[in-house]
Symmetry: C2
Subunit: 334 residues, 2 copies
């Protein structure tokens, strides 16, 4: 029988955010448990259940029998194995008891007694988008998370793409610059999309040009090291030409690369999510769409027949920023 609620858990380096969600996508109540105050996974799990999940249910008079399942989004998560593997950002990720391979699903299920499903955070966001957001009704789309990194969740024929090892969808680590002096990405490779088009990459572009040229910009009022994507977007919105140019360059790379993604899976839309979208549609979408159209293979260029819509849409997520990760994780449970 279908049950009315699901639990969504978003595990990050600082905390695990927990929410009880109904089928419409309303987050009824939230809780937070630290992920960084113990190096033992067993202790963290005990906290998650006893200080997070159980009080949340009690407070809302919900019995565990009314819960369809628990969905968990986490870094370095393997959907197929239900494990979190070699997660450098989680202090209990390297718990020697488990030798770096945390059997998350198995252990959580022992404690809560309902179905538990785990996937990586970018995949969870894509699922949330399909269940509650801008991808409702879509069966083929790509969700790109532009934050401190560039994450991706790929949906094909209504299903998340996992690939043979469950690690598919690392589009932030496709190569966009092949040159000796290409940026080294956090992953160790050179020239990755993430190194240029994440919030960190965008700010780096701004700082590099400010340092190496004498371009005029209102960003000069900051110390170079203070400049993050927030300062660049603020000045761009106020009309600073240089700050706008930094967005244009970054978006051009995104649009060019999206054209290659389209050649792969022919999605109906590419959906943008994450902190960088805070800069707004006006700043981001026109240059992305322009570069996409210029680089698309001919059959995908332009508008649909008798319709004012692009054949391949680029749109913003409609998930609420605060709850997106919880919603995405909860969508795993339905």
């Amino acid at each position: 029988m279908e049950k009315p609620y699901a639990i969504g858990i978003d595990i990050g380096a600082q905390s695990a955010k927990i929410g009880v969600v109904n089928r419409k996508g309303d987050v009824l109540e939230r809780a937070k448990v630290s992920t960084k105050d113990t190096t033992e996974f067993d202790v963290f799990l005990e906290n998650l259940v006893e200080k997070g999940i159980k009080p949340l249910l009690t407070k809302n008079n919900i019995d565990i029998s009314q819960i369809q399942g628990v969905g968990v989004g986490a870094p370095n998560a393997s959907y197929k194995k239900g494990t979190i593997e070699q997660a450098a950002n989680l202090v209990w990720g390297k718990d020697p008891k488990y030798n770096g391979i945390i059997p998350f699903v198995e252990k959580l299920k022992e404690k809560v007694g309902v179905r538990c499903v785990l996937t990586n955070d970018a995949n969870a966001t894509a699922l949330g988008e399909m269940q509650y957001g801008a991808a409702r009704g879509m069966k083929d789309f790509i969700e790109i998370t532009l934050g401190s990194g560039v994450g991706s969740g790929i949906v094909i024929n209504g299903q998340l793409l996992y690939g043979h090892d469950s690690f598919a969808g690392e589009l932030g680590h496709t190569t966009v610059v092949r040159a000796e002096n290409a940026r080294v990405c956090g992953c160790g490779k050179k020239g990755c999309l993430e190194a240029y088009t994440s919030a960190v990459g965008l700010a780096r572009t701004a700082r590099e040009i400010l340092e190496n040229t004498d371009v005029k910009s209102s960003l000069r009022k900051y110390e170079i090291d203070e400049i993050t994507s927030k300062e660049v977007s603020e000045e761009a919105k106020k009309g600073d030409e240089f700050a706008k140019e930094v967005y244009n360059r970054t978006c051009k790379m995104l649009g060019e690369t999206f054209a290659d993604f389209v050649a792969f899976s022919a999605p109906e839309a590419i959906i943008l999510f994450g902190g960088m979208t805070g800069a707004g549609e006006e700043l981001l979408l026109p240059p992305i769409k322009e570069a996409l159209q210029e680089n698309l293979f001919k059959i995908w260029r332009g508008r649909k027949e008798n319709c004012d819509e692009d054949k391949i849409k680029v749109i913003f997520s409609s998930l609420p920023d605060n709850d997106a990760a919880i919603l995405g994780a909860s969508a795993l449970a339905w």
Copy 2:
């Protein structure tokens, strides 16, 4: 009830090749019908059935009731709609009666009375590989056809990837060179993989360098315009250093680009098919694998645990060259 035979039809610019295939993948008998001697689709279809399919069945004492279905691989084919659209290379592709949209499946089914399925030729090859070839038992792989163009068929979780409009898998038209002087591809875009790594692209690389440098090579015995990929591969096999270097450059581009494909769909293998593989594994595979390993995201690099096999394999097709297209098309029918 399962029936013992399928018909595979491979439609090309010159001819349609027809074969009766059993479930093991033996082509029992072949026939050929010209595709270029009429500009009327109705006439071509009549020929295909009366001069191709029917005599083939009669000759083998097979009744149409023993045929599971007819699979057709064709250029510009839409799987979802069963149509061949705007096919520039087929003389009846622009038959004014059908306004460039040939309702192939509907019309063929009217004539033969069994299930008919149509897909593009690169997809058909991937299906054939999965049914009878090197991808037996695989659920996630990418088939790359290196011929006069670069085609691709992508299999995800045991299914062909079609995308929202059924045109997914145009990997030959992903961009590998972003520069003012990048080659213009036959599709009109600049810098496509196909422009550099097809048989035509490889020969062009050889000719360009021979014309613009004074590199020593046994290829100098030919007039520049005579040099095709065949001459380059022959000289490379005989040990000509320059010809080998042309293969190395081309294969490096393939390996680099394959790394981005892996970041998308995490396939178990990339399988190479088509005329260019005639150059042999020794010439092609080492430089492709080297570039692939150098460019893979870390989780896919190197060997499987306790195993002498790469995490992501690059292998040659095991489909017989002559019958591959018929086999691929017939695989659609099962």
